[in-house]
Symmetry: C4
């Protein structure tokens, strides 16, 4: 998958996932904070559960597509793991990427099971997410052997975002619904997405000149560039967070919650799954 | 102990331990969640304590057997540590493995003491487990010097599982009874067990051709293979967890708890030791 | 910015920041502890918020000045990043330092937004601080390549303080208002400040002889010197903390809180923002 | 201080400190658990405070003595840091050791201040202890450069105990009075003490033959030996803990607390400082 597209595709997935999560968690945070003015109309517990189920299905679907793509693209292994005739492993890169998708697929499956049945504890979805990100970083870490300096460096920088996501998701097992951790994870997801695009541009520039992969000053620039991507990701998350909060509050103010009195207290209590933990 | 059997044996122990723990914690979790329909018939506090005592005895017994085996197998040191005639240490490998068993034996002993007397705080069993796993990883880490690349790599991968178990057990000191951590530890235990089998197959293939221990593509495959073992371990734990939960619930539904009214509330309160912390 | 001044300037900033924070947190701690004798006169919630706004503005202002200085000093890049004529990056050092200031500027901005509006959760300012320090350490870590031994070593020692600050600030996200963590962060900030001065003196001695940057015994001395700076920072923080506590208590004792009876309990309740979390 | 005595001395201090702490924390734990049968006679809050003050003074005294010894032994620097005539640092080893003692002296001072006045928060003594151990490990880490393999290795193993102590003491800032953490710290302290003796025996054997400092099998043995020291330390702590608990309980049973009825509830409430946090 050593190509510009091969990096732009997962990059786009992570960008979209980061934006989606930012919107979702911002909405739920706004809902929780504005309970007294009837915010539960915007995001009831049932609608939250529906959102989670849709999210799980989408993740499962795209992981499945990703796995198939890795197996059947031009030079894919087509489910053949070992070439017994020539005695070598077939396209280990593709198999490794397919393994990464497999774990994200498992995350989607677990999320689906948790939110459609009562079989498993809620926090399991965060643990699975942490394991998936850890597995991604783990596999990336061990397939950099023997590449050129800058190639190794851009992938090492990626690991900061990936292992950061794994750590934050693991902390969320114990601090579920903590908006700080949720936004931090969103930031790191967007960072990972935009950094995949950057890697594609550095290693396989679609237009313009090649990068000198052995120049130390390129390495210094790329390090700083990672900081800029982080600043950019923080900016995007902040703007989205503030917009969602502002929209929720202004919509609530326009339409006073007249029907509130009709609800029994019992019905309104556990609006979010996070709170019933 | 450099042989196929020498890896398959501890592998089998850890596999069985992982399955046993998964069943135990799943049963207790199901019991805790279905209290209102009389689940305490299936697992009372006394029966939990009995289980722990049996588990501690079994661990102690097998650790003892393991220590003796390491001392008295074909080339064992038979409790001789230093050969003063030829001035060298006797079979350090066997002594190191015996030391690992020693720590697991101590864990079993502590568990026995905690659950038969009131002498020590409950959380001590998790601390001892964490120390045992840490000690195992610590000794493995320092006996890889000078081996071939793939040999070192498969043992390094083992360390992820071992130190992971140590960390999770240490976290359980503070979060006892957290089902997420318990299942994670079970998963890592099964992973360690199945990985021991894999190491045996790679270094001492019982049938089929030898592995080239210096081929980088073998190293890449083995890394990915570790991920697959992890996915397999997660699958096994999930299936066992769901089965136990389903069985508990269906058994409870068939036989309504008629005798519940006869129990005084005081008797039913602390069903599990975890809750009285 | 390789000059004595280039290290003394940020050093002074961090020294002042450390002293300021020590004073601030000591005052608030004294206020909280002496509530019953009317300490809220000295530091009400409104005055705390005003302090935070001033602090945010000052940080924002100096970060902005720092960025401009890095761009427009004698050899600065003047916002030119790449020299297309000679095909090399322009003054990457200055750009890296400007990036560090950028993150501290963002921290100031976030702090301002949090304390003037209700848009975002309070703990976000600590997260931003943690990210800023992490970013500083991250950039320092990757620009030591190819320097002489002692040069690398003094900067590595700096990283202990910087990453320590990042970690403590991150812990404060979950333990806001914990005086132990706050004082630890103050200590590390003063340590960073005084260590910047030390680096300046070692690499660019303003008077006296040059240091031999390759002498191992110099390296040993510098390591120990870092410990002394830490001890010095702890001393400064302790003295300041005790002085503030003593002043608060003696002032409160001189002027009995006669007007206390006039306040309704409701008005006095949430004196500090930390407590209303 | 490269001599057998130079390692046996600090080793003895740490051994005594470990035993003392084990006894202290076991007594307080037994006191807390047996409140209902009048254990407060054995260890009231005032007596706990007195113990802490004595402990602080003793630590301060021996740290002071240690510092003086390091300065004035046979080849000590006698407070001369730099030899301007021959342009080299004077006895950096002794200065480094003196710096370690300085930090432990500061810990004793802080402990004294905390327990005699109300000036500072209680948890500060654990933070200072964590910093002292961290500082010890930090200085050891950077003075191993250029030594022989086994010399480096035995000191590296020491760092496991030292940094372990630092970590546990830091965790105690947040979990004060947690008996598990306290006993773990005691174990690591005894481990450090006995390991100092081991280092002395390996590097400067007082009788018997020299060790071959370059033999890899010696390194393997020493690693395992560290595990045995850990097992030994755990044994010592367990035996002491159980003995203290047994003595407390049997003494309480012999003399029923007849005077209990005379105490007002208010007087008996905060028996330990840990509980009033």
């Amino acid at each position: 998958m050593g190509s510009f597209k091969g990096h732009a595709l997962p990059g786009s997935f992570f960008l979209i996932a980061g934006l989606w999560w930012t919107g979702k968690y911002s909405l739920w945070y706004a809902t929780r904070r504005n309970k007294n003015i009837g915010s539960t109309r915007l995001s009831s517990r049932a609608s939250q559960r529906r959102l989670e189920i849709i999210e799980g299905s989408v993740i499962l679907f795209f992981s499945f597509v990703g796995m198939l793509l890795e197996q059947f693209v031009a030079n894919g292994p087509r489910f053949q793991l070992y070439d017994f005739a020539e005695k070598h492993w077939e396209d280990l890169m593709n198999w490794q990427h397919a393994t990464m998708y497999l774990f994200f697929g498992l995350t989607g499956t677990v999320s689906l099971i948790i939110h459609t049945t009562e079989a498993a504890p809620l926090a399991l979805d965060r643990l699975m997410l942490a394991i998936s990100f850890f597995n991604e970083g783990f596999l990336f870490m061990y397939h950099l052997h023997g590449r050129t300096m800058l190639d190794v460096h851009v992938h090492l920088l990626l690991l900061y975002a990936v292992f950061g996501q794994a750590l934050v998701a693991f902390l969320e097992v114990f601090h579920r619904g903590n908006i700080i951790l949720e936004l931090l994870r969103c930031t790191l997801t967007i960072l990972q997405g935009s950094w995949f695009w950057q890697i594609g541009h550095v290693l396989y520039p679609p237009h313009g000149p090649e990068w000198d992969l052995k120049d130390p000053s390129n390495m210094m620039f790329i390090t700083m560039c990672f900081s800029w991507h982080l600043a950019f990701a923080m900016l995007v998350v902040s703007v989205l967070f503030c917009t969602v909060n502002w929209v929720v509050r202004s919509r609530l103010k326009r339409t006073p919650p007249m029907e509130m009195g009709l609800l029994k207290p019992r019905d309104r209590d556990p609006e979010s799954e996070d709170e019933i933990l």
